[in-house]
Every structure is written in structure tokens, then in C-alpha cells.
Symmetry: D3
Subunit: 225 residues, 6 copies
């Protein structure tokens, strides 16, 4: 039987490695899974990134100050987002958890959105937020006014939102049940997409005029990460 | 130590059962997991329903003709939906799969929606559908015109849609990676929910007038199941 | 401590990439998991293939017409199989779903087989099939005659079969709870394997004469994919 | 809205419990998941049995001598099987592991079988076994002669077998990646099932005469548990 | 065949329910899994609690102020703990996430501990903490001084600790990748257990004198929840 | 848009492969998942190693005699450990199971330890062991004296131990619910780590003198693998 593409690919890798490897003394240390820090130079897999070699791992891989300050403001929302997912914090790889910081100015909003890959648990650090999610089964909104120190749960994949009902910036930390929760903001996905006005009108029942207005607002948007 | 509530609850169950059980000869047959048909009289758990006793299981538990005919028409969409999830087909319990039949009349639409708990693989039986989903990361729409015999994939949790671009009813079977995929239709969840016009406007950026128009259209809607 | 093999392998990859990478402007786009289309040039992992770079992904990755026509006929069964698993439809990677089309001629059969990695939900498009599976615990067969539009469930890993009891070709679409369900056909695995007649006789209790007859029939077989 | 069946069912349970509960002092002990010993009086779920109340758990729940002696001999195989799955060892509930002891007499066999829900790792305590499994993809048999102290792996869902090639009883311990691995023995499932001779012939390609002979041998069999 | 225990148990439940159910009008609402709020009156399962009936679910099930204030102080540690796991916040059921608040006084410590079921991501609200975990493979400690706004990761099951190196109380929120992370504090588990001094000495290599001293300190301890 | 780093990396791989690939006839054999033997030259991922090409897989990949003899003695414990995890037995990759052999001399001990990634099921081959684990919730020790042929369960992530109470070597086989269970020995992790005496004292409450004594004993230790 002739060798398959995959066999050849593996042999090529071995051929490239053998000369270099032979120049070097080896330790007997092997990779294991008590730690699997993301090697983001290699392609992702459905379970996460390949592991960085243990010898290159340091405590910096488990540390981040990405949430110490507000992220960049997203203009139409008067809200800033900062993320600490596997991209920013490679030690999260394979661990099923990540976090985001959201700062909502007075009058600001985190508009309707979903996390396709995660549930969310939010903790309010400062201010007041009106928060809620929509049940897929009943369209009932489960809402609550959150004050400093309050927690609220958003189950996986359901549309949810928050907006500031106070006079000061509201700051919250959100934790997710995934190293990379994903974020699909309804106004971006519905109106800032690459579909025509007609297709958006057809699939959202929003009038063409309103779709055009919203495409003008959100058509050049990109999702914060 | 005093017995806990849970201990007491168990003892009560045992007390109630013992007199009846003592009147009956027993087989030694125990429940196992090569089959776990849903007992839908008992409450669901995060992994699915408790198993029906093996002795009460028959081939009918694995059979359904729920997709043999179109489901009821949903008026504003000119589309009918019929479901075969664990509710209709209890043999699916614990197996991570289910199906739906969709019949889209000429001009009809399956509007923007997500399945919070499942990916979808659709197979077109008849007609022509324009189908697509929106990437959460880039807002790019991945679209395709589907003809009889075509397959298309909708990754978990992402907004997607189909509409009929032909002159005859388009019929498709959709399979899902979950015994209960869930269904959150954007127009229902965004406009047919229990939130005020102001809150919907604030969190969707759709004008209040348009929100009111859409609430009139979808305010009494319930999700088909 | 001397660098381990894995460290060296990583450094080699970096050395090879740095000169080329330095010639190119970069976007800041990173791979994420709202989509993980299979890169089948790289080796598979237990959770699926590494992801193709997002910039190379197109809607074709989510589309297939592999089930639009019957697959090749498998002579002794008078049945044809066509597959749409991750190999044919790379957009299925990591999503836990796939499909197959089976066309069974009058008198034809899908003989006893298992899918080691998946449960199955079958939908009959045309004709009549007698379908069933065998409980591992009781050896009871759960069987049903399926007509157009009927669904039947085959729980993960259990032996099951279908055969055509009508006068016209029966066509069905099967969906699986895995991107790659696997297929172990009993007659191939038991009689078309690389074991001796004696070993097959010893482990199946089928007489040596019958084993020889079946080895003649199925000895050169390979599993359709 | 009128209360649903499930609501009523819950209220009934509460009504029955309240009078008894009110007579008793309570500890504040709640169930948690560092331990979830199976309560086998309640129905199984796809993830395992409900947990026994913590106050009723003792070290006996984690202990078994079920593998200290050979199990009952299965006549046609000259092999005895003893199991330690969640049924025999309730402390395994939810933990993804179990074990079996197999004693194969000289000339005895563990015939072709699968575990629908688990991979297997076998360790030979005494004697000599010829062991192998069949790849689903290629029908290639991966075989090995095992001596005392040897390990062999059987991947999930694939047909595998062992037989004694020595003059003394061979004893092995098999561990499984599931609290309840399941066991489907090919001769039982193919020939000892409730299907007619014609159906078995049709779906296995074994002659009717041979099917009848094998049904006589295995028709009254039940799977050991 | 006589009905099994499980069949009888189910029949009993039905018998008890039928008379009450027949008095009531029913909605057609069924339980689904877009929400599965814990019904903590029923026993837990390996995947979480059975779901509360949808009709009894309210937004309070997704809300908690359990982390708005420090929890009770644990004397020897000068640290207080407050939990928001499924026990305190039933809406977390099945969602794979929970949180804890820890307030460490100047000089206080969160001693060496593990979460058997979860990884942890900690966010420092106020003060300064020295935090670290121990690699199982190398015994290397990965440590960091954390200031306000910093994040640190503790991979699943590994021993880790924090202590206050500043002059003010340090407050942190920890998120976990499980609805019920579990908590095994080394000094409690090693010295506050029900084993004899001899057994603890034998299995920890700490001198009997020191074990006795530590048993005096921690022998009556119970794990905060 | 300029190509991203990941795109370039993929193109580089393709450039390197194309010239070699073009010299070779190909079979159409593709990797699938009925087998995924670990290719340990490539980096691990959270779900396990990439698969070795099917054409290079042999029965040796599923076989090991690593547990046929006692492993090396660990001096202070008078115990020897031999492992058969994915590192020693690459056929275990992705299968969720592995094993260890432990030989405990008279007076020897397997000191308090956890497996961060796995539950354990132990089977005693010879001798007598006193075995136990500590509940995280209650600090209660669940203990048992094990004789030849006995089984005992240690739930995931909980501290557990064994010691020999007899006059002969006790030998046991332990199976784990993970291809790589991990091993964190309390005396190594608490006292043989890279932390200062002060930090260990602070986080374990063991006196500095005792910490120093234990660091002398275990400071140069490395975890057996």
C-alpha cells in the first residue's frame, strides 16, 4: 500500500526535525495535561489549542491585567468591553472558563446578544444595571435590577441584555463556562452583516427603511474581542 | 446527627413503596443504559429524562411519524414546522440527536433564529431554499442556494435563516446534535417578549414605532414545539 | 534543564515561520471557535481536526451535494451508501452531527452493523423498510416496518439492520450524533477480517465451512466511506 | 395559566412530604457532588443514578469483593464472568469507570463482542490469552498473545475477543471507561435474538441451516450482568 | 415476567398522581432544557439536580446577593468565604459555572486547597494577594503577586493558595467551571479528618506531635459551604 | 485583508509538503476516529494527542508489559509505582482509561495524594492494604481493609491513601477514568515544592521546623511517571 498524505506529512515533519534534534541533549520531560497552556501559533482544535511545551510555561501564562481598566468604548452603546478569554490569557486553555469586564456609562447599554458557546454569571462591581434574558421556549423575559454585589445568571445561548439605569458608570465582571464564549450581538449580526437589505427585511420582518437606517449605523461594525 | 431533608424524602418514598412492593414477585431485571427511553412523567435533568423501566419499553418508543406530514402553518412566515425531539420521540433520550421537518411555501421564510443547544444539518427534500448563517466573530453571512438533495451546516448557537426562492413548496429535514435543540426565533424573542417598547428599543436600536408594529405582529406568539 | 523534544519541535516550527512571517502585513484576526472547519491536511485529534484558518473558510465548507444521488452499489447487499461526514463536509468538524444516504433495492439489505461512535435517527424518503436493533442487555429485537415519512432510532453502539420489504427502491437519510460515526458491518468485521478460519470459528461459533464460504464472499471487502 | 402536569406532580410530592418532614429535626446537610453514590431504587438517568443521601453513604458503597472469585461459568464458552459495574458497586456512579473479571478455561473463549458505551483496558493475571479487535475502517485485526502481567487496549465500540491458548485457566481483569460499559456478544445478539431465522439469514448472510443450529445453541441465552 | 421494582415504583407514582391530576385543567407546557433550575428537594444526579417545573421558575432563581457582603470569618485563617454555587443560586443548575467571594484580612490566608471538580479564575477587587498553585507533574509553584484588577488561573484539581501581603483586607471574586466546584482544604482534609494520629502520620510524614497539634486546631472543623 | 499569521503558517506547511507529496502515489486512506493512537512527537491538546497515521499503527500500540513487574522503589514510601498511561501505551489516546501498578512493601505506604483528572478503581492482587479517601464536604474518611481480590473506589480529585498492614508485599492494579490521570502527592506538593519555608508554613499551618524537616526529606523529589 502506498503511504497516505497523512503519513507523508508526518514523515516530512520527522525529516525536518531529526537533524536538529540530534544536536541537542534531551530531558525526559513529557507534556501532560495537568497544564495545557495554549500555543496560539498552532491552529485551534474543537477542544482548544495545542499545549505549549511545559519548559516554556511560566506564571505569566496564568496571569492577566486585561480587566484592570475599562476596554475601548463602543460608541453607539456608550459601553466599553475588555476580554480575558484564551486569546488574552493562554492558561485558560482547556479549562472551560473565561471572563469579561463591562463598563456601561449612564444611559449606556449592552444590547441584546448571545454567547453561542457559554453560560454567563455576572457580578456587579459598581452602579446599577437592569439585566434580563429571554426564554427560548416562552419568550418570557426574566429581568432584575442589579445593584453593587449582585449576581445574575444568563443560560447558554439565550438572548440577554443589560442597561444602566443610574447616574454613574456601572461596572461588572462576567464569567463564562468556556475558554472562548463567543459573542453574537443582535444588531451587528442582524443589521451589520453582509446580506442585502431585502434579505434582512425578509428574515427579520423589520421594514426596509429601518433596516437601511440600522445598516448605516452598524454596517461597518466589527465584534470586539 | 438528625436525618437531613433528603434522607427523609428517601425514607418516605421507601415507606410508600414497601407495602405495594411486598405484594409482588420481582424479576431481577435492572435498569441499564444500553437504552434510556425518556419517562416524561418525571422531571427532566441536565442530561435528559429519567429512564422508563425496561419492561415498559417497546419499539413504539423509537418510532415516530411526526415528520410524515407538514406541521401546522405559522401564519406570518408561510412556513410549517413539525418536530421530532425527545418530547415526541422518547427513545431519543440521552442520545444527542433529533430532527425537524420544515415546509416553506413560495415566498415563505424561516426567519432568523438560533438553536441554543445544538448544531444543525439540513437536507433539502424538494424545492429551492436560500439558506445562510451569520458568523459571530465577523458578522459575515455564509449563504448558499440549496436544491433538492443538498446539505447545509449551521454551527451551534449562530443566527441562521432560510427562505423559499422558488415557485413550489420547499421541504427540508433538519437534524440536530441534541435530543432537544431549543429554538429562539429572533422576531419572537426580540419583539414578542414581555419587555416594554422602551426596553426593546433600547436593547435592539429598532425605533419605538417599528417595535410597536412588530409587537403587534408577534406579541401573542408562542414558539412551536 | 535541557529543552525537551517538544520544545525543539516548537522552535523548529518558529524558525521556519519567522522569515516568511516577517515579510507580510498581518491582520489581527485570530482563530476562534464559532467555526472550526476541518483542516484535513493536518492530523486528526480525539476531538476532531485542527481548524482551517478563518480567512480560507467559505460557504462551500458547509455545503455538500454528496447525498443528492445514490452512492455506489455494494454488490452482495443490493444497497448503495453515500456519506456526508467530516471527510466529505469539513464544516461538520467539532459539531457532533453527520448524515448518510442509503438506497436499498427490492430484496436488498443493510446488514447487521454498529456505529461505534454514534446514535442514529433514520428518516424514510421512499419505499418500505423493515428496521430493527438488538438490545445488548436482553437480546430482544426492537423492530418496525417503516413507510415514507417515518423515523426510527438506533441507540449508540447497538447492532441494527434494515431490509427492503417492498417492490421499489427504499431511500432513507440517516443522521448521526457524531461528525464521524464509524461503521462496523458484522459480516465484514467477523468474516472479512485478517483472522484465520480457525480463529473466526472459535470466536463466532459459526462452522469452519460456513466461515470459509463467508470469507470467500466478504474477504476482499472494504468498508464504504 | 393552569398548572402543568409537572407542577402538579411536584406539588403532590411536597404535600406528601410536608407532614412527615415537620415532625423531624433537620440537619443542614445538603447533597453535593464530591460523592454521588447510586440510589438504585430510583430510575437511572442518562448521566447515572440519582445520588443516595450523604447521611446513608458508608465505605461499603465504595467496596466490592465481586471480583475475588470467578463468576458463574457460561457453558458454551468455558469462561466465567464477574462484574463490578454501578449495579454491583454503587460508589462508581458518575465516575466513568468499572471492571470485570474473566476466567477462561483451557480451550475457552470470550467470543466476539462489543461494549457499546466504553473502551476497555485488560490486564492478564494468570495464563495466556490470544486477544484482538477488529478495526471498523479496515477490517484489519490487531492481535496479540498476552502473558501474565500484559495489558491490551480495546477501543470503544469495536468487536473484540480473547481465547485461551494455554493449558491452564487464564484470568484477567478488564477496566472500562464507563460506570456501565454494556456488553453485546455477537453470537447472542445475532443468533440468540427474537428475530426469525429468515431475518437473521437475510441480515447476517449466514445460511438458514447454520442460523438454526446457532439459535438452538444460543436462543435461550441471556447476557451475564 | 413479573414487573420489576422499578416498574412498580413508576406505577405507584402514577397511581398517586392520577386522582389529583384528573381534577385539574392542563396547559400543554412541557419541561425543556433552555432552562433547568435546580429542584433541590429532589436528589441530585451526576449531571445536576432535576429541573424545577417551568411554571414555578422566576427571575429570583437566577439572582443572588450572596456575594454582596463578606461571608462568615474562618478564625484560624482570618479569611471569610461566601459561596454562590447551585445550592445558593439554583439557576446555575446544569450550566457549568459558579462563584465565591473571599475576603482576606491583613495577615490572613486561604490555605492550600483543591477544587476536585473545577478550574478557577480569580479577580482581585481590592488589596494585594500572593497567589500560586503547584504543578502536579513538577512540584513547581507558579506564583504571582496580584493587585486590584488582576486575574489569575488555577487549573482543575491542583493545590493552590492565596495570602494577603498588604495592610488592608484583600477581596476577590473567584469563578469556577462547575455549578458545584467542591472544596478540599488540605489542613482540614489531612488533619481535621476522622483518621487516627498514627494513620495521618503514616500517610503525611508529618510527626505525630505536629499531627496532634494540628488535630487540636482543625479537628472540629467543617468545610464552609 | 492581509492574510493572518495562521493562514501563513498553513501556507508554509503546504509549501513544504507539496514537492514531496507530488513524488508519491497516494492511497485514499484517511484518518478516522475508530482508532486515534497518540503521535507523541506532536504537541498534546486538551482532548489528547493528534492521531498517528493509520498506516503506521500496529498492535504494539495497544500493548504494554509496563505493569508486568514492579516499578522503581520510591525510597521514603517503601513502595514502587509503574504506570501505563498514554505516555507508555499510546493506544489509550482519547479513550478515557489508563492503569498503574503499585507494590507496597510491609510497612510501606502510598501517601495522601490526588489524581486531578480522574477517578480510580483499585483491585488488590496480593497482600493486605488499608485504604481510604477523605470527603471534601465533611472531612470524613471512608476507609476499608482490602484483601486479595477486593475492589475500592476513590472519587475524582479527593485525597486518598493506602498502606500495607500485612507482612508481605501488597500488589494492586489501579484503573483510572482518564488517559492521563495526573498524580499530586501531598508531601511532594506541599513540602517538596519551590516555595519558601515561610510560605509553606503560612499556607499549611505546619510549623517551620517541621516544614524544614519535610523539605529536607522531599525537596529534591520528582513525581514518578
Amino acid at each position: 500500500m502506498a503511504p497516505s498524505k497523512a503519513v507523508v506529512a508526518h514523515l516530512v515533519v520527522l525529516l525536518l526535525l531529526v537533524p536538529l534534534l540530534s544536536l541537542l541533549p534531551f530531558s525526559s520531560h513529557a507534556l501532560t495535561q495537568d497544564l495545557c497552556v495554549a500555543n496560539r501559533l498552532l491552529p485551534d482544535t474543537p477542544s482548544g489549542y495545542p499545549c505549549k511545551p511545559k519548559g516554556l510555561v511560566s506564571s505569566d501564562d496564568f496571569y492577566s491585567d486585561a480587566l484592570a481598566r475599562p476596554g475601548p468604548v463602543i460608541a453607539p452603546f456608550n459601553t466599553s468591553l475588555a476580554s480575558a478569554a484564551v486569546k488574552q490569557l493562554p492558561g485558560l486553555n482547556g479549562l472551560g472558563i473565561s471572563a469579561t469586564r463591562v463598563d456601561v456609562q449612564p444611559g449606556g447599554v449592552v444590547p441584546m446578544h448571545t454567547h453561542p458557546e457559554a453560560s454567563e454569571l455576572i457580578f456587579l462591581l459598581e452602579g446599577t444595571l437592569f439585566a434580563g434574558f429571554i426564554s427560548a421556549e416562552t419568550n418570557k423575559a426574566y429581568v432584575k435590577i442589579l445593584k453593587k454585589g449582585d449576581l445574575y445568571v444568563f443560560p447558554q445561548g439565550l438572548l440577554h441584555f443589560q442597561f444602566n439605569t443610574g447616574n454613574t458608570t456601572a461596572t461588572a465582571i462576567a464569567a463564562y463556562s468556556n475558554q472562548n464564549p463567543g459573542l453574537q450581538i443582535a444588531v451587528y449580526a442582524l443589521f451589520g452583516n453582509t446580506l442585502t437589505v431585502e434579505t434582512v427585511n425578509k428574515t427579520t420582518f423589520v421594514t426596509k427603511e429601518e433596516v437601511m437606517r440600522l445598516k448605516d449605523l452598524f454596517g461597518q461594525s466589527s465584534v470586539p474581542s
